[in-house]
Amino acid sequence: MRLACFAAAACAAFAFAASAQNSTTEGIAKYREALQEGNPAELWEARGEGLWKAPRGPNKVSLERCDLGLGAGIVKGAYAQLPKYFADADRVMDLETRLVWCMVKLQGISEADAKKNPFGNGNDKKSDIEALVAYVTSESRGVKMNVSVAHPKEMQMYRVGEKIFYFRGGPHDFGCVTCHGADNQRIRLQDLPNLTKIEGTQKAYTTWPAYRVSQGELRTFQWRLNDCFRQQRFPELEFGSDASIALTMFLAKNANGAAFDGPAIKR
């Protein structure tokens, strides 16, 4: 009798914990759904389009002649094929590094100036790069990811990116793989995509950039990588660095075939 009571109580407690978990997950799913109705990323997209078309820099020209890989001035669908090798720079570039390139080469802005504010912070420190990225990526919404590794330098970046993904270091021995190496894992209540698998990578990669409600800012993929390394207890990943492009290449290519769905809205 006593034993039965105890067992029943234990079961009830367990069932309570389990149902609390389920309702938490469902509740958060509904929350995320409700956010989809209006995405402030559109404010960044609009500002970015304005920046793209405005004559700027010492040369007083717009970015409308910038070649994002599909030819000068073609924005539609360009992001779905990045990163890629650009012969004029003899380098594999992601969108952010290519935008900096165009600001320097076309508009005559110094590289230091073009790169100085990659991640905005509030009204007084708005980032032009984030706005431009929001605009350019929005023009690939619905386009299937189609990143090439045909050029040897693209293949090299892809393979190095894979190595960096598995690189463990720092005081905590963390690497990308620590949090993103298995299915159905979470940190606290946050689901973690499995980036060693195609499905997980497709879902994660195609929903960046994103408006982060926790920050009230639009964040780019460069930011995503930068902040992951901060939490990995690494030094700071430099904006537009080769390692950042290699990792982006590794993930973007593995997302091939999935329709791009950004800028998204996230927690």
Partner: protein, 210 residues
Amino acid sequence: MQARMIARILLFSALFAAVLVGCAIAPSDERISADASAMIKNSFKARGQAGLDRLDQDDTQRLCSQAAGKTPPRDVAERIEKQNLATIKYPADGKLLGDWKNGEKIAQDGRGKQYSDDPKGPVGGNCYACHQLAPQELAYGTIGPSLYRFGKLRGYTVETQRYAYGKIFNSEAFAACSTMPRFGHNGILSEQQIKDVTALLMDPASPVNQ
């Protein structure tokens, strides 16, 4: 005879060329690893308390990176575990259990060691990021196994206390290439903090064991 010889030479040449071309298209895995290490060194800058020395891998980190998220070969795993086991320092006073209430605070606290953290500020263990512990906390992660009723299930023995303390001190001593940080070995948590977290797992009065 002559024709045969020429044919053989041609064949060898073709094979040799194919190998050469193959090299051009696909550098070896070692080469790519070396490129990755060099690229990492060039892509980060020191900030706050996080210096570039954090990119220098020790033997364990290097071997586990090579394992690429999988369990390393048995001989490698044994080498890693042996090396790490030798680093574990048990408390000189022989007491393994501290205060579970402090342990709970440490388990909840995710601060410490990030370049954005105050270097003089508190450092936590962030156990709940990956593990279920006390059932009251619903916001727990699942990267590590559930530790709910850790002591109750395994028995409140000194051996289990030593295992828990040792695992927190250096997880790689017990499971090569574990995702869990080596809290003692890498100086993330102090001896007293590890005792407190051990108490959270092993004290019969801890909420973990209710």
